[in-house]
Amino acid sequence: MEKTVNQRAWLLVIPVLILVAFSSIIPMMTVVNYSFQDSFGGNEFFWVGLEWYRELLHSERLWDAFGRQLLFSFIILLIEIPLGILVALSMPKKGFAASICLVLMSLPLLIPYNVVGTIWQVFGRADIGLLGRALSDLGISYNYSQNAFDAWATVIMMDVWHWTSLVALLSYAGLRSIPSAYYQAAKIDQAGRWSVFRHIELPKMRGVLMIAILLRFMDSFMIYTEPFVLTGGGPGNATTFLSIDLVKMALGQFDLGPAAAFSLMYFLVILLISYVFYTVMITADKNEANR
């Protein structure tokens, strides 16, 4: 029987193409155009070539924000991934308690970003906040709006509080998908708890953990609302991450050209990291399937 080639299915892709064009491609083209020009408002632009890129690449401000951003992402991954796994391992396996745990773990994920920032802003206040007041009563000097270390600690705690449950839920899903035969085999071999985790659970969770790391890294690398509401990027520039700096430049100073160049460099870094993660994930999946 001869196969009939029917290319009409391509028409179904058109709506998505139009949507992507309007939401991504056209804005991206505009940003590229802006990044090579200067504007004084009134939709008038002047060609400046690579000037903004040169200025930014030699700017201490950008490199400092980049360093802070990498450090932040590194710290939160270091805390959230092991903590999420630990929470998932401690969660009940079945029954009513498991359902309650799942609902409770999902709650922080449902709270809007700006509300999370506001909650922690109040929570950390030394006069009325539970955390701030408790630390003050214990004689610990804590003020996230004036001390850079306190601001960092609060931003990290806030992110851990908000997002560890995502890692926990993903890990839990990974754990639930392990066939019971593996545990039975481990029992026959009299494997200890650590061996079960190291040789069964961790390898079987690798796929979901890669997704968790990718999601958390990308999200933390683009973090804006929570630290902006909590500290406004301060004290000084202590918690000014890349996106906060970018918004200050684009909307605060209305420097469209430099902000566009900044956005493109930011985008390139994110694209590179996403591609590396994606490739590692796909390669790991293929190796797993070939075993």
């Binding site: 020009q37 939709n43 632009f45 060609w47 690579l50 690449l57 590179l272 390669t283």
Partner: protein, 90 residues
């Protein structure tokens, strides 16, 4: 379209990218490639190698701007060499 602040160099850049993508698609239809594992140890098709070349070229251009004051055409030559190496060995 005025709000998009088009200029000839940026328009040429996008036209080049669009033509490259179209060319690669046609090439794939005419001569479908097979995945291969190169020096990076990952399976790549022609499209992957083009993506790696373009992404790498972005960083090469940025590094050139940040590290030298020389003409950007120097970076273009390095990008060409980089793309050749990627298509040949990756």
């Amino acid at each position: 379209m005025e709000w998009m602040a088009w200029t000839l160099p940026t328009a040429l850049f996008f036209v080049t990218i669009a033509l490259t993508l179209a060319g690669m698609s046609l090439l794939h239809l005419k001569y479908p490639g097979t995945p291969r594992t190169g020096i990076l140890g990952i399976e790549t098709m022609r499209g992957d190698r083009l993506f790696i070349s373009l992404l790498g070229s972005g960083f090469i251009n940025l590094a050139w701007i940040g590290l030298t004051d020389a003409s950007q055409y120097g970076a273009l030559v390095i990008c060409g060499l980089f793309a050749f190496c990627v298509f040949r060995w990756v």
